[in-house]
Symmetry: C3
Subunit: 439 residues, 3 copies
């Protein structure tokens, strides 16, 4: 994603031929409105596709938790999206895109400046003719903020209390994400350094992964997950939902990466958006196929959840640079994402880091890989590594502080009894599948 | 939604500079075709998003009924959409947009005039240059008609017979909805009065709610629902599906409200569409958060189905005016929708009106609220109240008459035995989840 | 779908009035870029909608198999899509659209020529101004290739081994589909003959159906399906998923048929796309209603799975010509699709051809019907019949050869014990619903 809000208003002149001196002034006064409409439309379409990813995370996570925790996981997902929508309006958007309003230049933007959209029914089209509508931009960017929070909920499932989790979401979507993202997309110090992260392998996915990792370490694993040096499998309750969630995320990712071109009003831009769509799809396919093949080779049985996570890791991997690679480059980038998932999931278990849905391998580790891989195209390894570390340290440390405060003040983990009985009955008094008896 | 079909053809002239006398006539003869394409595209995109809401209703309702009635609920949902598609072609579209063909001016349009689309491959682009294609308009409007019917099926679930319900859908989608909607969107008496209902809080949602209420009163509650003055909970069988349905509806609503701008070919229009997307999202988020918080405060346990319905009530609330409010105004409007749900659901139960999915609070009561709230922007309280009452009385009375006739002629309720055993085996001989034993 | 890649680059001149001699040359040098953007956008939107059909097939099939085979069915679906994405890049796209690179003119195109997209950030817009971006075209066409493979997986469910099935997918998506589709859409002999198949009733749906039929005959029916001359019902495990899948497919079909207009940059084209959307919807609705009514009449109980397949058969039927018919014509075409399903499903059972999800009636038989029906508009019965037979013979014979080779080399059917226990535990060691005990 290129810089957006810091761009000076672009008056896209109509590509009219020079008409002779006398007519020239008049022609210049008639800007071509179509690029504005096309780019606004790209944000709206991209935005609703990324919105749809919220449903994808909800289904993926509901499918991968045990049935006694499904209602809770669904509640967290719809609540976190709603909170993100409010916090990003109240604080996040203008904090992330401060324009000239940096409090600490390049590091911290304007605080508590709720988003204001254009007035209704702009009378003078030409006068208002900026790059694209602020409303569409806000709508699109908000979805990225919500995605960051969605990543966290999966890792911490089946044991975290609802309200402390939602308070963390308030901080993450209102402050942590907008601040770190402003360093790059808001025109902050990372963008000046030459760091490159097209659609957010690091800014969104790894950031969400770091927040999740901090939470997982402080929260600890589920009861009975690691026993006598062995990892006890706790299979997801509904793999059809998990697969549906993966397909939803895959679909939404066309908007995530394609919309991050941030322009669709020229032949070059719409052609680049097409390239991004094709590359994004290829990386996902490669991640899935690699994970399927690898699990067959390693475990003699192909593993559906690994395959699903392989597709997602392919998507995260290509997100830092979905435009520059060829289709073959995208296949390699995404395929390595698939390798990462297959090896990182058991590695985390060995470290007794309990990540219920595999979000840390998929979003954090594949996100780092994808961001590093950009340097094959830009050559700027230093900037990529600096960005990865800076975002990682900031997000991890601030998240850990928030988790510690929450642990001290409200507690973040349900009681042992509630965890064993399931969060649905204990915290919500409502089962997701009340009529399907447990095997 | 503004008037559509009554608009005179707009020849959008190219915004070319005046080229000097000699060339002026020729320039005027070259209209800009892009607004036509953009607006047609808005209808197509809006239309497929609202189509998707049919799937949302199906999933929401399938998730909120007990498993013994799921196949029936799915059957009703796919059948009602299909019937709406046929009836709106056969009668509804031209009845709703009579143009000059009113039978009773402002109240009753042309009957039995099936929709005809433009001929294939319009040869002379310029000559055909109207506002947008009739095909896209028909496609878009048809989805609103189907939505009205979707609302009814949820309320009456688990006890109504299939065929009488579908006959009601024939009347609702062919006649009741097109007639009442023509009063406003077809250029009828309500639009002349100054009534305002942008995307149909009243014309679609409250209307569906009134039809559902009439049915619920005549049909009576499910066996065992109200016992010794208490309301017996009958929890939905699959909250994952219900949540999926809510996300689908939320996504579709961007098309519902955004498409109702009915134009996307100018900077002002596409900017307004963006504003509508952002406001719609905010209202849904606010409704969800408010319902979550309120159920925590009132019942000490957050309630997922209330939260889902809170989001939907937020969406219905903003539908009457998704353009004028600021984001903060949308938050307030949607948040009040959330409050309505939390209080109206138990209130209906106290009145022994059995609404299986909560469609009456969500679509009827929040729809009235949203329509009233428009007067904060227009100042015209009289027109809003008149519209609410007129649509309410007409839809409720005609629906009640139809339900009474159906009750007398075919009966509308399954036998007591069939209701207890579930409609799936009794009426369809097919279970939705034949292998999942009942707890 | 019209020819695409064989079209010569179209420089769409701006529809400017002639400006007088001196300015004419300059005006001609400024092409209108909007048609390029609109058409590219049509491919991107059409492409993501058809991508979504992959999820639809996954859900439909997961819902219609028994729960012991759900994980396998999900695995096959995500794997087949991923393989199609890779094979279509590696071989398929340029084999299907050989341009001047036919190996055997009109019959066999270029082999092993991986797809290359446009370079990034086309600097000179005007110079690059072709019909639409290759990237968007590749993205769109790839989804059709994947759809062909999705059709096969449903028929052969519950008994075929994973890896042989996936090897078949490699051959189908890399070679069989691209070769037969090149005969028409690549400018091959069928297109020269006057055969007409707008969006692929024969090229995609019947072709997938023929491949499935060959597999079903060679694989044989599931154990216990046909016993003592009776057909034993093996009901699907989750009709909510099956219904969701149908709605997804219905939604995706707007992209499938609408995108096949292959142009959206003129009033005529976008109006035609609208007409296609409306007709496609009508055919699906008619197929569903007819199947619902017919099952009521024939069996006294309406049948949900027949209704779902009726909608799908309506969609397949209209796919060969979604533009020419009126809405009434579409209703008839789709309605006959519904009739086909209701009669063909039991007919196949009588022939002991075990088609788990009904893909052969829906995609093969309705596909033939839809392709034949085109002759009512073109008058060219000979070309339609020739195309149907040629594609049928080629696809069926080559598929059968591949299946026989796989049967001889690796075996294609799981062991009797594995089939009875379910493929999920036997081949994958993972249940889709591990906690829902079997009734």
């Amino acid at each position: 994603m290129k810089l957006l809000k810091t761009l000076a208003p672009v008056v896209a002149l109509a590509a009219l031929p020079t008409l002779g001196m006398a007519q020239e002034a008049e022609a210049a006064a008639t800007p071509d409105i179509n690029p504005y409409i096309f780019t606004t439309l790209l944000f709206l379409m991209g935005g609703f596709l990324v919105f749809w990813m919220a449903a994808g995370f909800a289904m993926l996570e509901a499918g991968l938790v045990r049935s006694k925790n499904v209602t809770m996981q669904l509640t967290k997902n719809i609540a976190l999206f709603s909170i993100a929508a409010i916090m990003y309006w109240l604080v996040g958007f203008n904090l992330m895109y401060p324009g000239d309003g940096w409090i600490v230049s390049g590091y911290l933007g304007t605080l508590f400046s709720p988003t204001v959209l254009e007035p209704v029914g702009l009378a003078a089209d030409a006068a208002a003719l900026d790059y694209a509508s602020v409303g569409s931009d806000f709508f699109f960017q908000l979805m990225f903020c919500a995605t960051t929070a969605s990543i966290v909920s999966g890792t911490l499932a089946e044991r975290i209390k609802l309200w402390p989790f939602l308070i963390f979401v308030v901080v993450l979507t209102g402050f942590i994400y907008p601040i770190e993202a402003s360093w790059q997309w808001g025109g902050g110090w990372l963008s000046e350094l030459g760091f490159s992260d097209f659609a957010g392998s690091t800014l969104v996915h790894a950031a969400g992964g770091w927040a999740a990792l901090a939470g997982a370490l402080i929260l600890g694993p589920r009861i009975g997950k690691y026993k006598d040096g062995r990892t006890v499998p706790m299979p997801g309750s509904n793999l059809a939902l998990a697969t549906l969630g993966t397909f939803i995320l895959w679909l939404g990712w066309f908007g995530f990466n394609g919309g991050s071109q941030l322009a669709m009003g020229t032949v070059g831009d719409v052609t680049d958006v097409s390239r991004i769509f094709a590359n994004t799809n290829m990386a996902a396919a490669a991640g899935a196929v690699v994970a399927l093949l690898l699990t067959q080779v390693l475990y003699k049985k192909p593993d559906l959840t690994m395959t699903l996570n392989g597709a997602l890791a392919g998507l995260v991997s290509i997100t830092a640079e979905p435009l520059a690679p060829s289709l073959f480059g995208s296949l390699i980038t995404g395929g390595i994402g698939g390798v990462i998932v297959v090896f990182a999931v058991p590695m985390l278990d060995k470290m007794k880091i309990d990540d219920v849905v595999g979000a840390i391998p998929v979003h954090l580790i594949a996100g780092i890989w994808g961001t590093l891989a950009v340097a094959f195209y830009t050559g700027n390894w230093g900037a990529q590594i600096t960005g990865i570390i800076a975002i990682g340290v900031f997000t991890f440390v601030v998240s850990a502080v928030v988790w510690f405060i929450l642990k001290a003040v409200t507690g973040i983990r349900v009681s042992e009894e509630d965890e064993i009985n399931g969060l649905d009955m204990a915290e919500l008094g409502m089962e997701a599948y009340p009529e399907f008896s447990k095997g």
